[in-house]
Symmetry: C2
Subunit: 304 residues, 2 copies
């Protein structure tokens, strides 16, 4: 029984109105696995890095109980690198540099002892690679969550549509839900997308929270209004990792547990944006998480 998270493990260089970083450790699988590790102790990564990635960086993951046997290290090659600059509103950003490096030829390898996978998080990657991972698991996991983005809708829509047929939960943002469905209303968009394969759809709305849809129900999770958003990088991946990590912990997939998973994911994401990169989410205590979740309860509870 385990949770596999596949996605980029990378270096990022980030500029925000509050400052800038040199190359720091980032990547979807890094954020998602760190977030999941607070809930579930059998979290495993599938990914690839170059030999510029430090053992000390990998140790940070291992110290969180994250199994990195599926993290390939390509000698003589470089890790995926992304540099970006956020605008004042922190909702929009310019990509300054994208160097695919090892990610350009990424062929995911599933170690034998990962074959007990029950929960699978497919972080944002080419749909073909996401699909390969599903195919390389001998048993179909109990829950497959897929994150993707507009880029793949633009250049690999058919592959994406094929992959959607194989998954349970899709996480995208509101603009992507509109693009994928051709519907402006998110209710209509969700209805269409839920005919494409996934049984659940999560629409991420950043500072406006997130919506969860199944065929008949909708849940609206608030975002915690924050005084300072320091660096939004990785917030969506942290959300997704917290979401699937919480579900792996409770072990039963239903709409009510998914609602709570959305709240836990949102809580983790709210920490993520408070510091640069993974700085905040590498050092959380259970008490901090519990207190933050209580803030979400008081933020949205009412009694009529």
């Amino acid at each position: 029984m385990s949770l596999i998270i596949i996605g980029s493990v990378a270096f990022d260089a980030i500029e925000t109105p509050f400052g800038k970083t040199d190359k720091i450790v980032g990547g979807a699988a890094t954020y998602a696995s760190l977030a999941a590790s607070y809930f579930y102790d059998k979290t495993r990564i599938v990914g690839v890095v170059g030999d510029d990635f430090q053992q000390s960086d990998i140790k940070i993951l291992n110290d969180h109980g994250i199994d990195t046997e599926g993290l390939q290290i390509k000698h003589g090659e470089k890790s995926f690198f992304w540099a970006g600059r956020y605008h004042n509103d922190m909702n929009s950003r310019d990509t300054l540099v994208t160097e695919l490096n090892v990610l350009g030829t990424f062929d995911p390898v599933i170690p034998e002892n990962y074959q007990d996978c029950e929960y699978l998080m497919l972080g944002n990657l080419t749909p073909k690679v996401q699909q390969t991972v599903i195919e390389r698991l001998r048993n179909r996991p109990k829950l497959i969550v897929l994150d993707t983005m507009n880029f793949w809708m633009d250049i690999a829509l058919d592959d994406l549509l094929d992959t959607l047929k194989m998954i349970d939960v899709l996480t995208i943002n509101d603009a992507e839900a509109r693009q994928l469905s051709g519907e402006y209303s998110l209710v209509k968009a969700a209805k269409k997308i839920l005919t494409m394969g996934p049984k659940y759809l999560i629409i991420k709305k950043g500072e406006h929270g997130a919506l969860l849809f199944d065929e008949t129900q909708i849940f609206s999770a608030p975002a915690l209004p924050l005084a300072e958003v320091f660096d939004p990088t990785g917030a969506g991946d942290t959300f997704a990792g917290g979401f699937i990590g919480y579900l792996a912990k409770v072990g039963t997939i239903n709409f009510n547990n998914m609602k709570n998973a959305l709240i836990y994911g949102s809580a983790l994401a709210s920490f993520c944006v408070e510091k640069f990169g993974t700085e905040k989410i590498v050092n959380l205590t259970q008490e901090e998480i519990d207190n933050r979740v209580r803030e979400f309860v008081s933020l949205s509870a009412f009694t009529i």
Copy 2:
């Protein structure tokens, strides 16, 4: 004991991607008083129209138990008229025509039997006129809610700041909260605005719901995701009317009742946008409202 709603009573001509109307009855006070009338039976209007306004239009308000003694009828003059066209996303619109007409010289008259006012809703008008209404009430109402917009921040900021010192609750949208405070973070914006006079701030975020702030607490009300938004005109006024109408009904001002008032206001607003103009909110049943509020409960309830 009564609730006074002051604001425009007007004609609108509306174009949306779904169709267009001739001149139909609109105006902030019309929407707000109709919404309030579902909760509170002593709702009174202060406003002005020309003699182009039909007795049958006024009768619609009276049929809802709304007292229109404070609605001046200027003979030989024309009512305020606004024409606008909504874009495909329904979030942005172009104003095609604004004819102030009687509103240009509006001098609000408070009928003697309105002097028992306990709840005062100051709909969007020049801050000077809003202030005049407060000054013409012999006793300070228990609760004063003020709605305003960026236009007054641009051309009458000092008057607006003076008026803010006299009120309890301010309702504005997120862009306006940012403009008024000079802060991008809504948490910081709210902190600043709450030093300007109001004890409570409501930030309206349209399809993303609304936030309620006091000095120490935040509440996030979801918006109901809708399959069809037919015409957003008047949704903000309907929200405000439902909000203050509900509070007038329960009679006790505290954060918990305000949270419920936000939900009832949001429920009324969600009906408003389903048809052109006031068409939907003129004919609601208590059962429809109760069912809609239950949808809000199931939309946002979770148990951790």
